[in-house]
Symmetry: C2
Subunit: 346 residues, 2 copies
Amino acid sequence: MKTKRPTIDDVARLSGVARVTVSRVLNGGPNVRDEVRARVMQAVESLDYKVNPQARSLAGGASRLLAFVFASDPDNEPNSYYESALELGALRACLALGYQVLVQNVPQRTPDRHKRVLDLITTQRCEGLILSPPYSDDVALIEAALDLGCKVVTVSPGGPGLGKADGVGVDDEAGGYDIARELLRLGHRRFGFIAGLEGHLSADRRLEGFQRALIEQGLGEGDYVVSRGDFTFRSGVDLAPRLLDHPLRPTALVCANDDMAAGVLSAAHARGLNIPRDLSITGFDDAPVAAIVWPPLTTVHQPVKVLGQRAVELLVARLTGANTEPKTVFQQLDHAVVSRQTTTAA
Amino acid sequence: MKTKRPTIDDVARLSGVARVTVSRVLNGGPNVRDEVRARVMQAVESLDYKVNPQARSLAGGASRLLAFVFASDPDNEPNSYYESALELGALRACLALGYQVLVQNVPQRTPDRHKRVLDLITTQRCEGLILSPPYSDDVALIEAALDLGCKVVTVSPGGPGLGKADGVGVDDEAGGYDIARELLRLGHRRFGFIAGLEGHLSADRRLEGFQRALIEQGLGEGDYVVSRGDFTFRSGVDLAPRLLDHPLRPTALVCANDDMAAGVLSAAHARGLNIPRDLSITGFDDAPVAAIVWPPLTTVHQPVKVLGQRAVELLVARLTGANTEPKTVFQQLDHAVVSRQTTTAA
DNA sequence: TCGGCAATTGGAAGCGCTTCCATGGAAGCG
DNA sequence: CGCTTCCATGGAAGCGCTTCCAATTGCCGA
C-alpha cells in the first residue's frame, strides 16, 4: 500500500526535458513545441502523474481555494434548500474549474462573525469569497475581505452590496410584484405578507414588489398586514394565528420563502381550514418542499443552483484576470411564477 | 491592500528563537520550556500569524484533507436531508479538529465512479474517506482506497462494508423492527413496505427488522407486500397506487425513508384518503420533511448529523494514530421511534 | 570528579512546485 | 551581413513549513 506518488521530476526525467518545461505543459504555458508537449503528456499518462496542489500553491502563491459563507443556522433550519443548493452549484462549477470550496456556516448573530469569515481568508488562504444573504449586504465585511486582497461575489445582494462587489441574483422586487399580480388577477383584495429576517435585504425587496403591485391596483396600507418571520417552517406555524385571526382576515397570504409558507399551510390544516378554498398561500424560491406539501405550493421559482454556479464563475474570472472590468458586474437570472394548488380565485 | 502575511521566520525572529522551535510550539511538541513557549505564543499573537496549511502539508506530508462521498443525485433528490446533514456534521467536527472536507457527489451509476472517488485521493491528496450508502458496502472501492494508503470510514454499512473499515451507524434492523412493533401494537395486520434502492444494504436491513417483527407475531409472506422505490418523494408518489389498489389493501405502510413516505402521503391526499384514519404511514430518518408534511409523520429518528461528526472523529483518530486498534471499530448510535400523526389504531 | 543521559535548542535538508533570468539558436531587419 | 528580436528550453532560487540529526546544557549516580 501507499506507494509514493510520482513527482514532476519523474515526469521530466521520463520525457527527457527539464522540470520547468513539464510545468509549462501542465499549465498550458506558451513556447513549447507540440512534439515536446506531446512527449510530456505521454509521460504524465504513463506515470499517472497528478500535480500536488499543495506544492503548486506554495510555489505559485495561489491556493485555488474559495470560501462559501452562509448564515442560516442548520439546527433551526435543517432543511434549508437555499443554502445547500447554492453550495451544490458552487461545488459543481469548482469541479469544472479546478478550484475548491470551503463551506462555512457563520450564524448571523455570532459576535465575531466578521472575524470568523476573514479568518477563512487568512488562515486557509482562500482567494475568493462567496457571500449569501444577509452577508451579501454587509458592506463592512465585503470591504474588509477586499482589503485582504480577496475577491468577493455576493449572492442576491439587496442594495448596499450591489456596487461593492460582483454579484448574482434574480430580480426579487419583480418576483414579489409578479406573485402579487397573480393573486390580484385571481380577485384577491385582502392580503397578508410574511416577511423574512431583518437584514435580508433581497427578501425585503419581495415585499416592495408586492406593495408596488397593490398600489398599482389602487390598494394601500389598509389592505394588507405584514408580519416578520425568520424563514423557518416553525416561524410560519407561529405567525399563522396572528394573520388568520386578524380583523382584516386576508384571503391570500404571500410568504417570503417556501418554508414559512409550508408552516402557514400546516397551521391552516391544524385549524381545519381548506386550502386553497379558505385561503390562498404562496411561497418563494420553489424549494423541493413546495412540491412536497399538500396541496403543492404556488411559488416563485428561482434557479438557486445556477446562482451558486455563476457566483463561482464570476469569482474565477476575476481571479484569473479573465474579467478586468473596473466596475462591478451583476448577473441577473430569470425567475418565474409557478402556479400549483395553494392558490385559487378569491 | 494585500499586505504579505507573516511567516514562521518572522515569528522566530521576533521571539528570538529558531524556526524549529516555533514549529514545535505550534504543533504542541514536547521539550520546549514554558517560558519560551509563552514568548513564541506572544509573538504569534502580536503578528497575527497563521500557519500556511499548504506549506505545512508539503513539508509534513499530511494534507489534513478528508473526502466525503455521496451517491444520491441532488437533481432528483434536491432535498436529501440525509446527505446534507452528514456533511454538516462532518464539517463541524473538522472545524474543531483542524481538518478540511472535500465534498463530492458521485452518482451510483457513474461508469467510472470508483475512479472518481480514488482520484480525490490521488489528485487532492485526501488522507481520509467517508463513504455513505451505498458506497459504504462497496468492498472493492473500500479496498482500493485502503490500498492507496487512505483511511476509510463507512456510514451505515449494511454488512459487507462492516469488517473492512471503521464505521458508524444506527441499528437499522432494530429500527425496522421497532416501527413494525409499534404498528402491530396498534392492531395492524396487513402491511405494505416501500424499500429503497437496491444496493443500499443498510436500508434493506430495515425491511429485515420489519419482517422479523411480523414473524414474531405469527404473520408471514401473505400479510405484507413490498415495493422498491429510490428514496425520492417522487418514487413514493409513483408507488402509492400499486400499494393502495392491492387486493390485500394494507392498513399500514412502512417506508424505508421519510421522503418516500411523504410521497405516499401526498398521493393519498390526492385520492382523497384521510390519513391516518384510512391508512397509517411511517417513514425513517426523521428528516425535517417529517415534521413539515400534513399530518406530521411518524418515523424512526436517527442522529444523522452526529453520524457525520463521529465519522470524522473516527477517521482523525486513525490518522493521528490515536486509534491503533487492529480490528475495525463500529460505532453504533441510538435510534428512536417518533410517534406523530400518521399512525393510528387499525 | 566524570561518563552518561535526558531535556532543550538549532542547523540543514528537503517536500514538489513555480517564477525569474539566462542561454542558444532561428528568424527578421535595413 | 551584422544586428536585434523572438522562440524554446533549462538552471537556480525559493515558497513556508517539518523532519532528521547534531549540539549544548544541566543533572544524575558511582
